[in-house]
Each structure stands twice: as structure tokens, then as C-alpha cells.
Symmetry: C2
Subunit: 354 residues, 2 copies
């Protein structure tokens, strides 16, 4: 595609994702609506509705980039699409309520395929008690494109942005990290093995059920939000971990203007993740730092909640916030520090609101 | 893509679009939110927010299906994407306020391309006084995928659905129809002529400026809604005309459980549309009935508003509503009737909410 007026060409990869999105959206000024509590730059947008806050967040999944249909059952894909959008809303400490789905599908998809996809969407709406209210279905030339928008609500007191972390806050993460990434590696390996035999999807071996489930049918951590509320712990900043711990931690640092120390041996990694990582000669910590699709929550909390957070099931305290001047670093067991790098943007761009 | 559990395969085209979407969305029941005023089946969804109504609508545009970049300037494409979503909100007699944009773009797009696209999006947000508040930017393997969500508001008194048309209501349309379709035909012809010379986009010949502008840079009819409000005319049913008059009229008939008579010689067609149709041996009425991208409003209004609507600029009374048993038909100048057929769904599926 060419445009005779513009002779120069800058590769998106040369700019980096954050700068790219900032360049695109920087010219936009507010036109008429002074009720925007949070625009571009967080897990979702927030509109002040007077007495309550509306949260809007989107998830996009494109075939060949975000999923591979040779090993992804369509039911699970539909479920995961909804989870991805609900997880964004959770990361703002808000409750998901309404869903719209837009799909583009090419002629190679049958009614049965679409029905399987919607079966998964329906299971997710039931699980998260949200309602499908609209969307689009259109033809596509090039495969399956999926878009979910979730609308939710929260209060001024509960709203948690990426920008609220303070020096000395604790850094906490839910569940465990890297399992979905190892599940993906396993599926990719099975795909290579099965190449040439296109009529079957890989069987889920029961030893690998956990990591495969984490990749194919993740869940949003609504349960942890409830737990925090009951414990009267209000996170100061929060984000969901969709592109690895490193990326999520750096987003909090950037938006909160702080630094972070993460203790390497405190990063929660499941034993099944360790086992598969060993088998495949992958460092499980790298899987946790740079893998994707965990849909866990990374949040900061005041230091005085240390005791309660240490004993809270499903939550690990993995580090703490430091001044911005000290940067973001991993701390190894021997006390040395490794600077946290942003993952390579060229391989796979992150979503703009992450 | 295969699924060993499902052996049967039903083509989506064999089912038809309306039945397909109904089959997919029929299993969804309300989970928890009793505030849904309108779900799937109109131009947008409506949530009762207590004292006001929130309207959410989406527009999807996929490369190769909805646009061809060999002749579509990216600035115009960005503008049109926003117009498509704003037009949906207009069709519910609501005011557009907030916008999210999700784009998937492949490596062949440069930063300059994305900037041109966002220039057009920005011009539209300024024109329609709406604010960009969020969205996603992601990599795509296969070209350009665009999704806009517009959030707007209206009141219970003003909300206009597709389902409110009553027997003897007048049928009215804004602007003129078929021009965007003729613009598309011209662009396709130029593309064939220029084939092999991939470095230039077709020049806009000034004789064809109108039909090309209607295709490449349409507008949403916010102005007409204002006019109707000032005249104290509340439409009884409304839809925007995005896939031709026939499809739009049939949607109103289906949702309102009525029939319609449209007088062939009252369908507004611009002289430039006539000229190009003659040159290309296309029936201009067919362009109006089955063409796309007009973004005009088709609405019904009480019979007692006849005089005011006849003299209102930018509005034509083209027919009237009849009982459902009488069906949907065009009336020719000699008084004979031609049954209105739904356009072929297989060529290009409509959006689910249309």
C-alpha cells in the first residue's frame, strides 16, 4: 500500500510500541466531555458518571498472532476472549457487567465452528455473570478476528489505576506465572510433531493438563478482588499480567513514576511449569518474566498490609516499590541486581492499553 | 481448521445472516443485569442507567471486505470508521460521546500509515465532538482490521429503535441514496485501469467528486436529528442505511412486525449518481436499494407530521407503513408492486446489529 504524498517510511518496530501509541494518540484533545476520569494508558477507560465510575475495556485476538487454530478448540477461544476483556476490568478493581463481541470470519468457518466459539463465550458470560448485549458479525478474507468490549463499574474509592504505586509499597502477584507460556510451548511442540496429520488436535496428556488449561482456558481473578475487599486492602496500583511480569511491572513503574525491586526466588511458579521448563530446557523464570496469557493480577499495596498479604491464599508478595531513580530490577538470591528490560516489541506488539 | 468432535459442516451462507446471528445469540440469557433496555438486534445496545440511557454501538472494517487500500486514502478510512459507529448511535436518536478504537495492522504498514489513519480518526472526533478514550493496537498477519466502539446517551423519550413503526406511519429517508455505491463502482473501474501501476492512487476527477466523497468520506446525519428535535418530530422507528434501502426497510419491517410501501419515483437519487449509473449501465434505483455505505437515516414518523416532513430540507417522504400481512413492496409509477427482497447474504454479510 502506498501513498504518493508520504515518501518517508518509518517501521513501527523501530519506534517501539509505547512511543508508537503515544505518537498516534497524543494529538487527541478532549472535545466536549469533561467526565473522562482515565483515557488511553491504562487497562481500560474510566468515565465519571456522577456517583459511580464506568469502566470500558477491550480485548482483541487475531488468528495467527494471538491464537493458532491447529491446537486451539474454538470453545476455549471464545471463553478466553471474554476472560481477556474481563481481566482488564478486574485490573481496575471494577466489576464486569456487559459484553459486546465483534467477529470477522472467513468462508472456511462453518456454522458449527461459530456455534462452538459462541458456546465458549456463553460459558464465560455465565461464569463471570455478565451479559452479551451487542456486537457485529462480518465476513473476513483472512481468518478469524475477535474483539470483545466489556463495560463495568466501580466507585471512586475502589478504582485502581496503574499510576498509584508509591515508594515502599509492596509488590504482589496472584496465582503463579509462566504456566500459560509453557502450555503454549508444549502445544507448539505437539503441532510440529503432528505436522502432516491435519485432522486431529493434540490430545491433552493428563500430566500436562494444568499448563495446557492455563494457556487454553485461563480465568480472570475476580476471586482475588473479592478477597482483598473482604480484607479491606485497597491496592494502590494494579495491572493484569498478559505479556509477562517484566512488561506489567514496567507499566506500573512508568505510569506511577517509581522503580521496583522484584525478588527472583519469590516469583510464584507452579511445579508443572518447572517440570515442563526443565524438559524443554527453558528457564522457568524467563517464562514468568516474558511469557504471556497468565491473566494474573500484579498490584501494589501499602507496607502496613504486609502481614495480611503474606498469609492471603493466592497472593504472593514478590517485591517492593523504590524511587524512580533506582529503576526496575530483579534481585537474585545472592543479592545482585539484574535490570528489568522491556520485552522485544517487534515480535508481538502489546495492546495499546496495557 | 478441523474439530474431530463435529463431523457435520453447515455453510454460513446456507443459513442466511439473520438466522445465523439468531442461532448464535439465542442461547444467551440475562445473567444478572436487569437494566438492559435493548440487547442484540438493533443498531446498538441500550442500558438503562436510571434517568438516562446509555447507547453502545460498534463498527468493524476489515481490509479486502470493507475497503480496498489501493484506492482508499488512510485518512479517509479513519474518518469513515468513526462515522460508521457514530451513524449507528444516531440511528437510535442518541448523541455520540466517547470512542474506542482497536486496530490490528501487519508489518507492511509504517508509522506514517498509522499516523494518516489516526489523522482521519481525529478529524472525525473533532467533527462529531466525541472523545477517544481507549482501545488496542495489535499486530496482524493479514492486513488492516479496524474496530470502533462508540458510547453515547439518550433519554427514554428520545430513544428510537427499529421496532416502533406503526401501520400508516410515514417512511422517510435523509439525503440521497446510491451515490456511495456509484463512487465505489468508479473506484473499482479506475483500479482496473491502473492495474500494474501500483504507485499511484486514482486522482479524483472533479466531475466525480460528489460520488467519490460519498464513498470515501461519508458523514453521519447528526444534523437531521437536531432538525427533527427542533420540529418536535419524534421518529417511531429508525435505522441507518449502510447496506442499501431494501435491507434497511426490511429490518424495520421485521423488528416492528409491519409491512411497507416505497414509491420508486420518490427515492432520492443525486444527479451525479444518475449520470455515473447511466455511464456504467447500472440502474440507479438498484444502487439505492442494494448499494452500501450511504449512512443516511431511514425512519418512520406519525402521519400527522406529513406537512412538516414534506417541507423539511434533507428529508424525503418515500412511502408508508402497512400491516405486516401486506409485506414489503416497491410501488412503480404505474401503480404495480414489486416485492422487496433481502439482498444476497452470501456476498457480504451484514453486521449483526443491523
Amino acid at each position: 500500500m502506498t501513498n504518493p504524498k508520504k515518501m518517508s517510511r518509518t517501521e513501527i518496530s523501530s519506534l517501539g510500541k509505547v512511543a508508537f501509541v503515544e505518537q498516534l494518540t497524543q494529538p487527541f484533545t478532549t472535545n466536549s466531555n469533561t467526565h473522562i476520569r482515565q483515557g488511553i494508558g491504562d487497562d481500560g477507560a474510566v468515565i465519571d458518571r456522577g456517583g459511580w465510575l464506568e469502566v470500558i475495556s477491550e480485548a482483541t485476538m487475531l488468528e495467527g498472532i494471538d491464537f493458532d487454530l491447529t491446537y486451539t478448540p474454538l470453545e476455549h477461544l471464545g471463553y478466553k476472549l471474554v476472560v481477556a476483556a474481563v481481566s482488564n476490568v478486574c485490573a481496575m478493581n471494577a466489576r464486569a457487567e456487559y459484553l459486546t463481541i465483534s467477529i470477522g470470519l472467513s468462508a472456511r468457518f462453518s456454522v458449527e465452528d461459530a456455534t462452538a466459539l459462541y458456546d465458549g463465550i456463553k460459558r464465560a458470560t455465565d461464569e463471570y455473570k455478565i451479559d452479551l448485549i451487542g456486537g457485529n458479525t462480518s465476513a473476513s478474507l483472512t481468518g478469524l478476528n475477535l474483539m470483545a468490549t466489556v463495560i463495568g463499574s466501580t466507585s471512586e474509592e475502589e478504582l485502581t489505576l496503574r499510576s498509584g504505586a508509591k515508594d515502599r509499597d509492596l509488590l504482589c502477584v496472584t496465582g503463579n506465572l509462566g504456566a500459560a507460556y509453557m502450555g503454549l510451548q508444549l502445544l507448539e511442540r505437539e503441532k510440529r510433531v503432528l505436522k502432516g496429520n491435519s485432522t486431529s488436535q493434540p490430545e491433552i496428556h493428563k500430566d500436562h493438563a494444568y499448563i495446557l488449561q492455563r494457556q487454553l482456558k485461563p480465568e480472570a481473578r475476580v476471586d482475588i478482588l473479592q478477597q482483598l475487599r473482604e480484607a479491606e486492602i485497597k491496592p494502590t496500583a494494579m495491572i493484569d499480567v498478559t505479556r509477562g511480569l517484566a512488561s506489567a511491572a514496567l507499566h506500573i513503574c512508568r505510569r506511577s513514576d517509581v522503580g521496583v525491586r522484584i525478588f527472583l526466588n519469590r516469583i510464584p511458579i507452579a511445579s508443572d511449569t518447572f517440570k515442563m521448563a526443565e524438559e524443554m530446557h527453558i528457564d522457568p523464570v524467563v517464562a514468568a518474566l516474558n511469557g504471556g496469557d497468565d491473566f494474573e493480577l500484579l498490584f501494589t499495596a501499602p507496607l502496613d498490609k504486609h502481614q495480611e498479604l503474606l498469609t492471603m491464599p493466592g497472593v504472593d508478595v514478590i517485591g517492593h516499590i523504590v524511587p524512580a531513580s533506582e529503576g526496575a530490577a530483579l534481585v537474585t538470591p545472592d543479592g545482585s541486581e539484574i535490570r528489568i528490560q522491556a520485552p522485544d516489541w517487534t515480535a508481538r506488539m502489546e495492546s495499546a492499553d496495557e
